[in-house]
Amino acid sequence: MATAVITPERENYLNQEYGIKSWLLTVDHKRIALLYLVSITFFFFIGGFFALLIRLELLTPAGDLVQADTYNKLFTMHGQVMIFFFLIPSIPAVLGNFLVPLMIGAKDLAFPRLNLLSWYLYIIAGALMLHCICTGGVDTGWTFYTPFSTAFSNTKVVEAGVAIFIAGFSSILTGLNFVVTIHRMRAPGMTWDRLPLFIWAHYATSVIQLLGTPVLAITLLLVVFERVFHLGIFDPTRGGDPLLFQHLFWFYSHPAVYIMILPAMAVESEVIACFTRKRIFGYKFVAMSSIAIAVFGFLVWAHHMFVAGISLYSALIFSALSYLVAVPSAIKVFNWTATMYKGSITFTTPMLYAFGFIGLFTMGGLTGLFLAALGIDVHVTDTYFVIAHFHYIMVGGAVMGYLGGLHFWWPKISGRMYPEWLGKFAALIVFLGFNLTFFPQFILGYMGMPRRYWQYPPEFQVLNVLSTAGSTILAVGYVLPMVYFLWSMRYGKPATENPWNAAGLEWKTSSPPPTFNFDQPPVVDFEAYDYEHIPEVEEVPVG
């Protein structure tokens, strides 16, 4: 290649300083993003290990691999680790941390030290969670439902509750940092209607983190206090109400799904615009739909409680409101497909993940509407239908978005290209493995297989075997990227400033960027995604 002239390596955020201290005391948002990347990957594989054990147990109808007590702990800790220690921080704390300042033309986040503190809080919470796992674990389900969690469970509820309480503060600090940064640190010319949709979606996510997470924190604290001091907030014999816990818990935990999915949507808007060479269709609607999702998301929580004994009137209200969230989500999906229409599409790895995201998120979202319907919900509550539904959103949606984004910005983050053919191969494996794992669960749930049991009637076995087989394929699809990303850090082809020929400020600085992101403070005189003004290069250089 003509461009392969060997130049001395530029100074960048990776080679500016070396040594463990330069990482553990860094206030550079890009280095903190990498700290997060390493830590959440660690927890992802722990959560994944629990998932594989669950699937192995369900290979046969009898409860043979583990006993019921152990199984209860497995699905509880799978959920808690994956949600609070992987999915919630995943895209915001890694890609958001890295990209928010770059995309708006800032040197760093508004509060760099607060950013580092958020990582330390995450690590403290993670260490506590690990300790809890290693010394017996919890069995309440990730939802901590009372009265089981407050009065009956004899596992480590307090420790897990405190760990997630602390992790919540890490999440609040990330949200706070993003809100202030997006308001205050935009480069000259970067007006609100020129912001990349990645930023709009992260802004909406941050609002949820800021306003929702404190409610989860205080709720878990109440569980801990009730368990230790027998307060009686949730205990009916002392004038409390066990359903109050569910109200408070889901007030956060339904919107928490949008903390996971909005950032994935953020990634897709960037990826789809780049690989169709077009401005996102209906930019303003896509931007506003993020805000709408953040607000509407707080109006629907009791759809998790339809059979729990809430009043029929409120169930009707929450059922109707739940349909409302489908509107902004559909706006996004339709606008992405409209963007692709007559676009010049390249099937790169990030784009394959984007296609996967659109399909799987749509299925997850539509089955969410089934569950929002009162009558159907009564039939499928607490069955594998629900499990399949939220895994289509959280794994098919959020994890696909995370992996797609990681591939898209990997050249920027590491300064190296990953092997494109292997990337595509892994993306296909993930897609196939995912569907084989979770599609059978829709059918199982509809036929009545309940969630959270370690054994099941023999007639459910065929579908369970399919699901378990799928999970092993999915595991391969997740290990592969980790392997070739690590490989590429040393052996990958050096990345140019803008390997995808993409629009956006992050591509106007070197790969990897210098410590303060830009050599010259950028001035913005263009709209977001102005692909019609970007000259075509002969070919997108893919490895």
């Binding site: 205050r184 306003l211 109006l299 009791a302 004994g309 009043s311």
Partner: protein
């Protein structure tokens, strides 16, 4: 940023007021006011929250739009939590036709 420095006297004053209100809450809990038991407790609690927000969190002297926006949003979200929960509690024991 508009730094409005409050004297430490002010902080101690607010703190003492909060302590007094806590004692009042505890004392009132032993007097049966009938339907006003909850009302009085909540009024005192709201007053304490206001003191904390206005003085300890400097909101009384906030002039920035962003800060005001956060306050308005927080109160709005709190109302969402309360009102939609009451949609359940207010009608849970109602008889259906």
């Amino acid at each position: 940023m508009s730094e409005h420095v409050l004297s430490s006297k002010m902080y101690y004053g607010i703190w003492i007021a909060l302590m007094i209100l806590t004692v009042v809450t505890a004392r009132v809990a032993f007097i049966d006011l009938g339907p006003f038991n909850t009302v009085v407790a909540l009024v005192i609690a709201t007053g304490k929250a206001l003191l904390v927000v206005l003085f300890f969190m400097h909101v009384k002297y906030a002039s920035e739009k962003l800060v005001k926006m956060v306050i308005v949003a927080s109160i709005f979200w709190l109302l969402l939590l309360l009102l939609l929960s009451l949609a359940d509690y207010g009608t849970r024991y109602a008889r259906h036709g």
